[in-house]
């Protein structure tokens, strides 16, 4: 097949010798870093199989692709800086993987020499597990800190615990004996601000005072958060998941996963959550965990010098992040697989599993929720669900899909507005305004004044005899002899109706505010607000169905299961299904979402309704637009992310996409030994291409290799400084043997070591489907196009993204990065 030929063509010249000496298939895939006997000349004589293993000398040059050199080139030392990447550029996956295999081979070959080398090789093998353990520990610890601090600061808006200032409301009243059944959170140690400032606990004056203090605290937390972000770490804002997705696909954003970003994200996340804004902390926790992973990977040379290996650690770290955010370790691994990672080999699966485990363990031992459970929304009911309930579940799925589509469109429109018009010039003011509006509208409604997690928990909890909130104000039949679990369906009391009204208002409020809140310049997550919206909708539907079943229990659909006195409908289950549907509608997750929700709630009986609702919401959402919220944000920012989920189905050929086009200037190339240092410097200065193909001569246009701009610049600069005799008119030689030069000419500069000898090539008639597939599967940045064996043009990842945008009728100029 054509694609197989591609693989072999690029590898033949260099890897033939390794074929005779290779022990495993792996080495066939190594285009670079392959041990080559110095006797072979690169053009012909491929069959010169003098592959004597004992005489290979490998000289790695900054770890990049090279051939082995012999005594003549022993003078070449590795040039520092070659093999690294610029900010906002894509890495070369193939090169990084080859570097890693080379390093591994070197360590293994030295293993038998001494005990020290043996220890080093063991350390190298185990360093992966060590990094992942440290990441899990750090993520768990930071998540515990964030949870405890956020709980405390959220309650700080209401009042303060006088006997122990560091307790939040629930902890303050923990040991008190004055709590009553109806008012479970009143105790004398907890004083609201009105009580402290004006001395009254009840009455209109104290209500207004509480209102004012609530708004004051919300605004000051929001202002603090955005100023800290602006002054110390601007990369700490937003959710972080779109950028992490892009980083994991090979993009470099320097500083995005650094120490300051970590610290500021942790601190300001607490402030943002405490200020009552309609955001969650799950997405930012993934970013925090990835920062930890990145920081720890710098301690180990195996990971610090290799960008591809580092991304393995980051995949595991994001699993740890979700694991501590939700208390869902398995859901975290699946989330990393489905949503965040780009390449996910089995090794990464094990590492993610381990990281999630360690993080969950640490969080549990810190025990932030005081109930020895990681699970936030533990549901304790086990009532079965009935077949006719699938209809309202599917309806909830449709609602989730519709809401997801609406939210994505509205949020992207608003973010685009913010990006291009003057709305975006005042980020601090924007945050303050959003926080003010949220605080002003949220306070009067008891359901929005609550912390969103508390709201979700209350909605998930079914109404048993032990509940006394207004949502559970049913008209009880006093003569009922049933106890505890099996409360039959009852008619709703006035409390329930007023609760439904308040919930409707809360739903509308949350839907509108979340559109404006996601994307402001403080750490903001999306999971909890979506789940809240879904839970509210679900609970309303659940109560409606429950009342319908009670008042019309003789209808056909209810007759079989819902007799009088039976506990038929559990509205809490509907809330759970609604939450899953909304979250699925906006992120378009499937398996990982179901696993996360049932790990969150412990409701294993309800997997089928969850799956039904999630599938429905995904189908409905996909009918309006294929992208989830994170892919939409990636496209908004123009990141060079080649989505593995999209299919490219157009019939264009490589010749249609490659550059140069007919009207463009010819391809900027380097010749093997005809150019001088000055020529190359001029070429680099005049053009802005990231790399240049190297050909044998302008007449033959036969391909030798590919040289990157950054590597050329660094190599030439260091040669000018360190090697003597290199001037502007020195010849640059990419070949193995320098050409014979007249005696007075300056010393030639050998740059073969920075040349990529195995660039990937396709012919101009290769269908673009295959080219896109190659880019995706191998993680390429560029691919050369040949025609009848001669170099014709180049296709870069940016060209592909632009082409895909064009064929999908989107704006190709929005692709910003390489």
């Amino acid at each position: 097949m054509e694609s197989e030929q591609l693989f072999h063509r690029g590898y033949y010249r260099n890897s033939y010798n390794s074929i005779t000496s290779a022990s495993s298939d792996e080495e066939l895939l190594d285009g670079a870093g392959v041990i080559m006997d110095f006797q072979t000349s690169e053009d012909d004589n491929l069959l010169d199989g003098d592959a004597s293993i004992g005489t290979h000398y490998t000289m790695t040059n900054g770890g990049s692709i090279n051939s082995s050199t012999h005594l003549l080139d022993l003078l070449d030392e590795p040039i520092p800086g070659v093999g690294t990447y610029d900010d906002f550029h894509t890495i070369d996956w193939v090169r990084e993987k080859c570097k890693d295999r080379e390093r591994h081979r070197r360590i293994n070959s030295k293993k038998k020499e001494s005990a020290w080398e043996m220890t080093k090789s063991l350390y190298d093998a185990w360093s992966g597990w060590l990094v992942v353990t440290l990441t899990g520990l750090a993520s768990g610890a930071l998540a515990g800190l964030i949870d405890i601090a956020a709980d405390w600061m959220t309650d700080l808006k209401e009042g303060i615990c006088l006997s122990a200032l560091w307790f939040n409301h629930e902890q303050c009243c923990w040991g008190s004996n004055e709590t009553t059944f109806e008012e479970r959170d009143k105790c004398p140690q907890w004083k609201t601000w009105a009580e402290l400032i004006i001395g009254q606990a009840e009455g209109p004056g104290s209500y207004i005072m509480n209102y004012i203090m609530y708004i004051f605290w919300a605004l000051s937390f929001a202002f603090l958060a955005v100023s800290l972000v602006k002054v110390f770490a601007p990369y700490a804002c937003g959710s972080g998941i779109p950028e992490i997705k892009t980083i994991l696909s090979g993009f470099i954003i320097r500083g995005y996963l650094g120490k300051w970003t970590l610290m500021i994200k942790t601190i300001t996340l607490v402030l943002a959550v405490a200020s009552g804004l309609s955001l969650g902390k799950e997405g930012p926790l993934v970013h925090v965990a990835c920062c930890c992973g990145n920081i720890f990977s710098y301690l180990f040379p195996k990971y610090s010098t290799n960008e591809a290996k580092k991304r393995e650690v980051l995949s595991a770290a994001s699993a740890a992040g979700v694991s501590v955010a939700f208390g869902a370790p398995i859901g975290g691994v699946l989330f990393s697989l489905e949503e965040v990672s780009y390449y996910f080999p089995l090794k990464t699966l094990w590492r993610s599993f381990f990281a999630a485990l360690v993080a969950a363990f640490v969080l549990r031992s810190i025990n932030p929720f005081g109930n020895s459970r990681l699970v936030l929304f533990y549901v304790e009911y086990h009532t079965p669900w009935y077949l006719f309930e699938l209809l309202p579940f599917i309806l909830l799925g449709v609602f989730g899909g519709l809401w997801g589509a609406f939210f994505i469109r509205a949020n992207i429109a608003w973010c685009r507005r913010r990006k291009s018009t003057k709305f975006g010039k005042y980020p601090v003011l924007e945050v303050i305004i959003v926080a003010a509006i949220t605080a002003v509208i949220a306070f009067p409604n008891p359901y929005t004044r609550l912390n969103t997690s508390e709201l979700i928990k209350e909605l998930f909890t079914d109404c048993g005899p032990l509940e006394s909130s207004s949502l559970c104000d049913y008209r009880n039949d006093m003569n009922a002899s049933k106890i505890v679990d099996d409360i039959p369906d009852r008619p709703a009391g006035t409390g329930v109706y007023s609760a439904i009204w308040q919930l409707c208002l809360a739903l509308i409020f949350k839907i509108i505010m979340t559109v404006f809140t996601f994307g402001i310049k403080v750490p903001s997550g999306l999971f909890i607000p979506s789940m809240a919206i879904g839970a509210i909708a679900g609970r309303i539907v659940g109560i409606a169905v429950e009342q319908l079943a009670y008042y019309h229990h003789d209808w056909f659909i209810f007759k079989e299961w819902c007799e009088v006195g039976a506990d038929c409908i559990t509205p809490g289950l509907y809330a759970m299904v609604g939450a899953a549907a909304c979250l699925g509608g906006v992120t378009r997750m499937t398996v990982s979402l179901v696993v996360i929700v049932f790990e969150l709630t412990g409701g294993l009986e309800y997997i089928v309704p969850l799956m039904a609702a999630v599938m429905t919401s995904k189908w409905v959402g996909d009918a309006f637009g294929r992208e989830g919220i994170y892919e939409a944000h990636i496209r908004l920012n123009g990141y060079p992310f080649l989505d593995a989920k999209e299919e490219f189905t157009h019939t264009t050929l490589a010749a249609d996409v490659m550059r140069p086009r007919r009207s463009d200037p010819p391809l900027a190339v380097l010749t093997q030994d005809n150019m001088t240092v000055e020529d190359i410097e001029n070429l680099i200065n005049e053009t802005s291409y990231n790399g240049f193909p190297v050909i044998m001569s302008k007449e033959s246009q036969r391909l030798v290799g590919f040289a990157l701009r950054r590597d050329l610049t660094i190599a030439i600069e260091s040669a000018r400084k360190k090697q003597e005799g290199i001037v502007g008119s020195s010849r640059v030689c990419f070949a193995q043997h320098t050409p014979s030069l007249p005696a007075e000419s300056p010393r030639p500069l050998k740059l073969r070591s920075i040349l990529d000898m195995s660039p990937f090539t396709v012919t101009d008639h290769t269908p673009m489907e295959i080219v896109v597939d190659i880019f995706r599967k191998l993680g390429l940045r560029q691919c050369l196009v040949t025609h009848n064996g001669r170099l014709l043009g180049i296709i870069t990842k940016k060209d592909i993204l632009r082409h895909m945008a064009q064929t999908a009728n989107q704006d190709p100029a929005s692709i910003m990065f390489n």
Binding site: F181, Y235, N367
Partner: protein
């Protein structure tokens, strides 16, 4: 501030008993061990007479809970101290440092920096100081060099995120 953070205060058994006949609902808390966490040990004084105790207790739900108030206290203190330090550093960088630099180096060498909230450029003079401090090489200047380099990085980030909106919009 009371230092009553003994471990015995951090465990409790919480029993919630719903309304029964003409008794209203009640919540009982008691500091007992896990094996004693049930209705008979915790609900005192028992509001119902002898024969009704079983019916009453069947409706009650008792849960054993424990927490660590020391962890909570330490965490909040750590968090607030880090927040306080960052706040102080922020105030220093945005307000105090420009004033000090202006006094030391004179008005003319300071690059224009706006002081209003909407357009903060606290690291505007980082380039200057960076160029100057390259020449000296003792420890204090190394620290200052690192700090100025960090400020440059943050300024670059700020430009990408807030001004040009190329990342994280």
């Amino acid at each position: 501030m009371l230092f009553t953070s003994q471990n015995s205060e951090d465990v409790r058994c919480k029993c919630i008993c719903p309304p029964y006949k003409d008794h209203s609902g009640q919540i009982y808390n008691k500091n007992v061990s896990q094996k004693d966490c049930d209705c008979l040990h915790v609900v005192e004084p028992m509001p119902v007479p002898g024969p009704d105790v079983e019916a009453y207790c069947l409706r009650c739900e008792c849960k054993y809970e424990e927490r660590s108030s020391v962890t909570i206290k330490v965490t909040i203190i750590i968090y607030l101290s880090i927040l306080g330090l960052l706040l102080l550093y922020m105030v220093y960088l945005t307000l105090v440092e420009p004033i000090l630099k202006r006094r030391l180096f004179g008005h003319s060498q300071l690059i224009q920096s706006d002081e209003d909230i909407g357009d903060h450029q606290p690291f505007a003079n980082a380039h200057d100081v960076l160029a100057r401090s390259r020449s000296r090489a003792n420890v204090l200047n190394k620290v200052e060099y690192a700090q100025q380099r960090w400020k440059l990085q943050v300024q670059e980030q700020r430009k990408s995120v807030f001004d040009r909106h190329v990342v994280l919009s």
